[in-house]
Point group: C2
Chain length 217, copies 2
């Protein structure tokens, strides 16, 4: 059964300034903390609904919150466990906070979680203060223009066929995007919505802030 | 014709402390600077062989160095242009420095360049101070143990079939790795070489330093 509301997964990774991220939160969001993500709760001003992970690092855990403790030797990452739990409890809208910078193994694993959620029928958004990722498979996505941000499309899980992009400086017409030749990188909004369609395959839509300070450094 | 020696592509992105990266350099390396990568030359203690990019940012360019200037409106990223130029001049071994942290669009585009080079018969390694990426397609890779680093395998360009991993805490036996369910993440060396084989498909092998300071933060 689909559950209304949104599951916000707070990952353990760095996420930059909390200010822009607090702006993404909505009343009624349910916060699932993936292991060390608990350290971000105060900065985000968020009350957790669920703690999930192995908790083998020394974190002070909030009291009185439902906690799912897993052995540290497992196949799934803590973020994936949180996503699976959210799906199984009926959520079909997700926001993942953090996990897009820092350790490259974590970043790549987290992008896989985006695809996993998308393939399970969820709408999904992943954000830190300077980067954002969305995912679409065999469908169309409309992204409101965002001044000062680049927009890029990358195939994920294989080549993406029949890719059409509108509302951006460089258009694509039923193009094939291949992992080894990224040609949808650092495109720009024209001022209205960007529309991205993929006929066969999946795309990661990546938004990156133009001036990223330490990230650009 | 294959040219001996190694093409070191210096990307424009952040790369962390220069010290560990200088340790990767070898006498006789040819340095190709992808656009803003020139700012890293001093830190790396490297003399450039080629500058490549649109150079529309205000960088002070080294004098007397061969320079290939491209229009800023192009399909390829500067890093891709440098890789293509290196291939066409005969290099079959590449080291890419930087480009694995910072702007997510750049990171993902750079991982595509790794696959591109691999598919063109080159041996390739991409590194910053805390992350490293290698690529193997339909073949086997041997990675010397590195104390204090995790090792992970991710499919790139589609699912990876028949993946076998040895010399690591968690073994795999002819497994299929899929983008949406990363189960080869944050594995550990046992002490000797790690051996990773993929029968059909391509893998990114990602090494990440366990204590990354600001990256973990």
């Amino acid at each position: 059964m689909t559950r209304p509301g949104r599951c916000v997964i707070v990952t353990a990774g760095p996420m930059g300034e909390y200010g822009p991220l607090r702006g993404l939160l909505r009343p009624g969001d349910s916060f699932y903390c993936a292991d060390g993500g608990v350290r971000h709760l105060r900065g985000l001003g968020a009350e957790p609904s669920l703690l999930i992970g192995d908790f083998d690092s020394a974190h002070e855990l909030p009291q009185g919150v439902e906690t799912l403790r897993f052995p540290s030797e497992k196949d799934e990452t803590d973020t994936m466990l949180a996503a699976m739990e959210g799906l199984s409890r009926g959520f079909r809208e997700f926001l993942l906070l953090g996990g897009l910078r820092g350790r490259l193994d974590h970043t790549l694993a987290n992008l896989g979680v985006l695809l996993y959620l998308t393939r399970h029928g969820a709408r999904v958004r992943m954000a830190d203060a300077d980067n954002e990722a969305l995912c679409v498979e065999n469908g169309e996505l409309r992204v409101p223009a965002r001044k000062g941000w680049y927009i890029s499309a990358f195939p994920i899980g294989g080549d993406a066929h029949g890719v059409t992009e509108r509302g951006m400086k460089y258009s694509l017409d039923e193009a094939t995007l291949r992992a080894e030749f990224p040609n949808g990188v650092s495109n720009e909004f024209l001022g209205g919505d960007a529309i991205i369609r993929v006929e066969r395959g999946a795309l990661l839509i990546v938004l990156s802030r133009k001036e990223t300070g330490p990230l650009a450094g």
